[in-house]
């Protein structure tokens, strides 16, 4: 067959290869032969792989829980239960045995953003340098956020509330989605879907936080504030992105430094106070520094450990 393939035919094959490679399949010689068959194929494969990556990010942000509400209900993943501890026996017991089997802890390194599906169909997306314990009890789904920040997409279960504890702050949900970030004096809670309730241990006051609202539980007695734009922007970390919307460069640099060992240092106070707009990959501090420098007429001096941003010569 000598007819050259159409772009669309190449895209079909590239999609199949992207999926095969993602599943860890596909023999190297076979792939090599396919790529060698037409110079256009390497580009099509890169594009298909990028689309698959983008789909994963998009699902992390928007479309998580719904996979379990399909016409064909899915059973909790037994493999997860077994892997959780206790071995095969635990999965067969109710009560204490199961409780133990379903306890698990997660910890992320700097720059690591991790998706942790739970056996009830809920999903946790854990931000950089965070740690949490999950325990799935018969009447309670309990999360102890020990450090950092996480976003929770909670599968509805009226019989089993979902409670996140961080220091003495408690956040309770039935079926909803929200994030919790530890602060020195409490926690910041952002609700993306439904309603959650927050309180401090041993205190009677309850705050009701609706979708699109932010609540800072720091003992100051403040109320939830509606800020849907800010929430969407802040939670872009779930897709590995940082969205700036008039933020100071110094604050943006501090955000990048949460995720990367390679630290951004701004050596010029005027540059640090410049405001910036843009969407960046959290793991690409240098791209950010270079874009900022180009926009502001500043200079970048980057080595293995540090990316310095400033003005070498004042104009």
């Amino acid at each position: 067959m000598n007819r050259p393939q159409s772009a669309s035919e190449i895209d079909d094959e590239a999609a199949a290869w992207a999926v095969r490679l993602d599943a860890g399949e596909g023999a190297a010689p076979e792939l090599k032969a396919w790529l060698a068959g037409d110079p256009r194929r390497s580009g099509a494969l890169l594009r298909a792989q990028a689309a698959l990556d983008l789909a994963g990010r998009s699902l992390a942000v928007y479309g998580a829980g719904a996979a379990f509400s399909t016409a064909q209900p899915l059973r909790p993943n037994r493999r997860w239960l077994i892997a959780g501890g206790g071995g095969a026996i635990a999965a067969g017991f109710a009560g204490a045995g199961l409780w133990l089997a379903q306890s698990r802890s997660f910890e992320t390194q700097r720059g690591e953003i991790r998706r942790a599906p739970l056996p009830d169909g809920s999903l946790i997306v854990i931000n950089t340098q965070s740690a949490l314990n999950v325990s799935m009890r018969p009447r309670l789904r309990h999360i102890q956020l020990r450090r950092g920040e996480a976003w929770f997409d909670v599968a509805k279960d009226l019989e089993r509330p979902f409670v996140v504890a961080v220091a003495d702050v408690r956040v309770r949900a039935v079926g909803t989605a929200f994030s919790v970030r530890q602060r020195t004096d409490g926690a910041e809670i952002m609700v993306t879907e439904g309603v959650v309730e927050a309180w401090r241990k041993g205190r009677p006051e309850r705050a009701r936080i609706e979708a699109g609202c932010v609540f800072t539980s720091d003992g100051s007695g403040g109320a939830p504030v509606a800020a849907p734009e800010r929430i969407e922007r802040t939670l872009a970390w779930r897709a590995g992105q940082l969205v700036l919307d008039g933020d100071r460069l110094a604050d943006a640099a501090a955000q990048f430094n949460r995720y990367n060992a390679r630290q951004i240092v701004i050596s010029d106070a005027a540059v640090a106070n410049e405001k910036f707009v843009g969407v960046f990959q959290l793991n690409e501090p240098e791209s950010f520094a270079r874009a900022a420098a180009a926009a502001l007429g500043a200079d970048v001096d980057a080595d293995q450990h540090t990316i310095r941003l400033g003005r070498l010569a004042q104009k």
């Binding site: 599943a23 990010r57 843009g278």
Partner: protein
């Protein structure tokens, strides 16, 4: 410094792919045929695929536009059939500057939403498999077991979903071209000069 394939794929997903509709819209407004547009865009991805690192590229969007323009200009020089009347007017469209605008930030955000909407519109079985694979990271074998199908079906459905998704994402830019006359005055100004 060499980057891994995964790093480059992630960069393309974040910095190139979200701008493809815009690049195609620009080519279409410049008078390129659908087949030429496909060719030019595919060639741009080929050049990206040949890079061992993308760390030197500050602005993916500008890079994408520039690469496509360069390819178009090269082809015209070699007298290949590419009908792009105003390909050099890229500067007039104000796409090469390094400074991201608020509109562009909004565009980047809406791209993720667009992808998620497209996923919701996939045929049901395709969508379920896609989500189990992408969100929950379940192995193909596990998905096959749960749904009572063969692994081959899971793989084919995922590829089908990906293909529908890619097609769907580019389709919308036909409407966008009509809905975005904002670029026209800029292009016109340049022509009038």
């Amino acid at each position: 410094m060499e980057q891994t394939r995964n790093e480059i794929v992630a960069w393309v997903a974040g910095q190139i792919l979200p701008h493809e509709r815009e690049v195609r819209g620009w080519l279409r407004r410049s008078g390129a045929s659908d087949a030429d547009i496909d060719d030019l865009v595919q060639e741009a991805y080929c050049r990206l695929a040949a890079l061992s690192s993308v760390a030197h590229i500050g602005n993916g969007r500008a890079y994408f536009f520039q690469t496509v323009r360069n390819i178009a200009v090269e082809r015209m020089r070699r007298a290949r059939v590419v009908r792009i009347d105003h390909v050099t007017e890229i500067d007039a469209l104000n796409v090469i500057d390094g400074e991201p605008s608020p509109e562009r930030v909004a565009a980047g955000r809406s791209e993720l939403r667009r992808v998620s909407d497209a996923i919701e519109e996939l045929p049901e079985r395709c969508r379920t498999i896609f989500k189990l694979r992408r969100i929950y990271g379940l192995p193909q074998r596990e998905i096959a077991r749960r749904l009572g199908v063969t692994e081959n079906v899971v793989e084919m459905q995922t590829a089908r979903g990906l293909r529908l998704l890619m097609a769907r994402l580019l389709k919308e830019d036909v409407d966008e071209t009509k809905a975005a006359p904002a670029d026209e005055p800029a292009a016109k100004r340049k022509r009038d000069r």
